[in-house]
Symmetry: D2
Subunit: 184 residues, 4 copies
Amino acid sequence: MTIMAFYGSIRDNGNSERLADIALQDLEVTKVFLKDYHIPPISDWNQAKPLHAEKDDYPSLIRKQMLADIILFVTPVYWYGLSSLLKLYIDRWSETLRDPSLPDFKEKMKGKEVHLITVGGDYPYVKALPMIQQMQFICDFLQMTFGSYIIGKGDKKGEVLTDKNALHAAGNLNKYFKSQLQKA
Amino acid sequence: MTIMAFYGSIRDNGNSERLADIALQDLEVTKVFLKDYHIPPISDWNQAKPLHAEKDDYPSLIRKQMLADIILFVTPVYWYGLSSLLKLYIDRWSETLRDPSLPDFKEKMKGKEVHLITVGGDYPYVKALPMIQQMQFICDFLQMTFGSYIIGKGDKKGEVLTDKNALHAAGNLNKYFKSQLQKA
Amino acid sequence: MTIMAFYGSIRDNGNSERLADIALQDLEVTKVFLKDYHIPPISDWNQAKPLHAEKDDYPSLIRKQMLADIILFVTPVYWYGLSSLLKLYIDRWSETLRDPSLPDFKEKMKGKEVHLITVGGDYPYVKALPMIQQMQFICDFLQMTFGSYIIGKGDKKGEVLTDKNALHAAGNLNKYFKSQLQKA
Amino acid sequence: MTIMAFYGSIRDNGNSERLADIALQDLEVTKVFLKDYHIPPISDWNQAKPLHAEKDDYPSLIRKQMLADIILFVTPVYWYGLSSLLKLYIDRWSETLRDPSLPDFKEKMKGKEVHLITVGGDYPYVKALPMIQQMQFICDFLQMTFGSYIIGKGDKKGEVLTDKNALHAAGNLNKYFKSQLQKA
C-alpha cells in the first residue's frame, strides 16, 4: 500500500501543504512538489512527430503514479480551480492514454483511491466546489474512487491552521491512511 | 470596442477553435493562440527576487488584454476543466495583481465582458458545468461581466459542426459582437 | 414511443410552458400540470401505518410515468431550483421505491430518457446549473439517460420568446422527439 | 440574538435532526418541524384573487423568521436536493416578496446569517454540492450571509453519528452559535 502526493502550489510551506502535513504525519509518502519539476505543455496528440525534445520530468512521474495505491492531490485554490501546475500534470495524462509504451495506464489507474486537499482564501467552502465536482468527473473517467476531499480556508501563510474543521478532517484522514497501510 | 480571444487548445483547428470561428466571423479580433507563446509557470509572489529570467510572453499579452473591451476564452474541455495552457495564463494574473508596474490592473479589468466557448467529447453539457461555475467566480472576483458561454460537443476533428445548438448559439454571439462593435 | 411531460409551474402559460410548447409542437404528449393535482407530502416511509388517508393523485401519475419512454420535466427556476411542486412529485418516488405493489419501479425507470426545460429570470444560464447537476444525479440513481436540457431566460410572461438560443434548442428538441417517435 | 431552525425531514429523529441536535445543544432555539405544519403550495402570484382559503401555517412562520438573526436549515438530501417540504417553504417566500402587508421582508432578511445542515446516504459530499450552490444563490438574492454548511453521511437511523468530520463540525458550529449569543 503506497501513497503518492502531488503538490500544486508554487509556494513552499503554503497553506495547502501545511494541511496536507497533518494528513500525512508519520506516513511514508512519495511527495512530488510539481514546482520543482520541469513539465512542458501537452503536445498535439494527433501528430506523429516526436513529442518533447526538451527535458521532461513527466514520464518518470507518471510511471511512479501508476504504482501507487492512493493518490493525494494537494493544491491551493487558484482562480477557483486546480493550480495550473497540477492541471498541466493531469492534462499530460491525455498523452499517456495514447502512449504505446504504457498500454496499461487506464487499467492501472482503475480502482485507485484519490483524495484532494485544497485551501483557498475567498470563501473556498463554496467557491472551491466546482473543483471538487471536476475531480469527481476525473475520477469517474478513469474509474478511480474519489475517497475524500478537505477544503480549508486560508490566505496568509499558516492561516489554515485556524480552520478547526479542516484540521480535524486532516487528522481523520491521517488515521484513515494509517489504517489502510496497516491492512496492507 | 475591441475583442481579444485567447485559445487554450494545443491543437490547430480543433473543435473549440472551429466553433469560435463562427462567433468571430467577419470581425476584427486579436487572436492569441496560447500554444504559440512561451508562458512560464507562476512564481512565488511573496518572494522579492526577480521573477522570470527566461523568456516570458505573458507581460506583453496582459498589457494587450487590459486594453480590450471584450475577452473571449476558447478552450477544449480537458479533464473537465479549462486547458492548462489557459489556466496558466489566468494563474499568472495573480502576479499582475501584485505588479507595481501595472497598478491599475484590477481597475482596468472591472466591467470587461467575458465570453467562453468550450467543446468537449464526454457529455460536456453536464461535465463542463464546473468550468462554467469557475468562470463565474473568476469574473466576480474582477467585477467582470460573464456575458455568455457556449458548450459544444465534439471529439473528433470538426465534430462540433454537427452540434446544431452550439452552432446556432455561436451565430447569435457573432451577431451580438457585431452589434456591440457598431455601437462603439 | 410515448412522451410524458410534467409541469412544475404554478402559473398558466408561464415561460417554461411556452418554451415547452415549442419542443412538443405537433406531438402527442401526456401533459401533467402538477398544480392541478393533489399530491400530499411524502410520509415517513419507515412507518407501517397507511400512508395517505387524504385524496392523492400521485399513485395514478406514477403508474402512467412508468409506461412512458421519454419524460420531460418543465419547471421554472424557483429559488434556484426545481419548483417545489415538481420536487414533491419526485420526492414521492422514494415511497414508490418501497411500494410492494410496484416492485418493478426501478426496473421500469431504467433506461428512460429524461429531458429538462427550465426558465428563470436571474441569470439562469449560471444560476440554474445546480438544478442541472441535481437532475444528472437523479438520472444516475435510476439509471435513466439525461438526454438534454434547455435553460431559457425570462421573467415577465412570454419573455422567454426573446431568448433565441433557447427557442432554437426547443425547436431542435422537437425535431428530435419527432424522429424518435417515427423510429418507434 | 435569536436562532430559528427549520427542519425539512419527514422523519422524527432522522439523521439530519440528530446532527442538528449537536449544533444546537444547550441553546434556546425556535425549532420548526415543517412536517408538523400545513403549508399549501404557492399560488399564482400574478392573480388578484384571495390566495389560500384553506388553513395555512406559512404566514405566522414567515413573521417569526423575519425576527430571527440566524436561520438554520436542517434537511435530508432527498433526490440530491432540499426536501420538498423545505423547498415549498422557501418557494412561498416569493409570495411574501409581493405581500403588501409585509413590505419590509427583503429589508429584514438582508444581513441574516444562514447555516445549512444536511445528511444524505449516497456520497453526499459530492452529490449534495448542487444543494450548497443553490443555497448560496438563495442567500445572495436576499443579501443574506451563507455562514456555513455541514454535509453528513447517513442512511439508516443514527448512522450520521459515525461521521466524525460532520460531528466535529457540528460541535464547532455549536461553539460558534454560543459565542454569537454571548456577544448579543
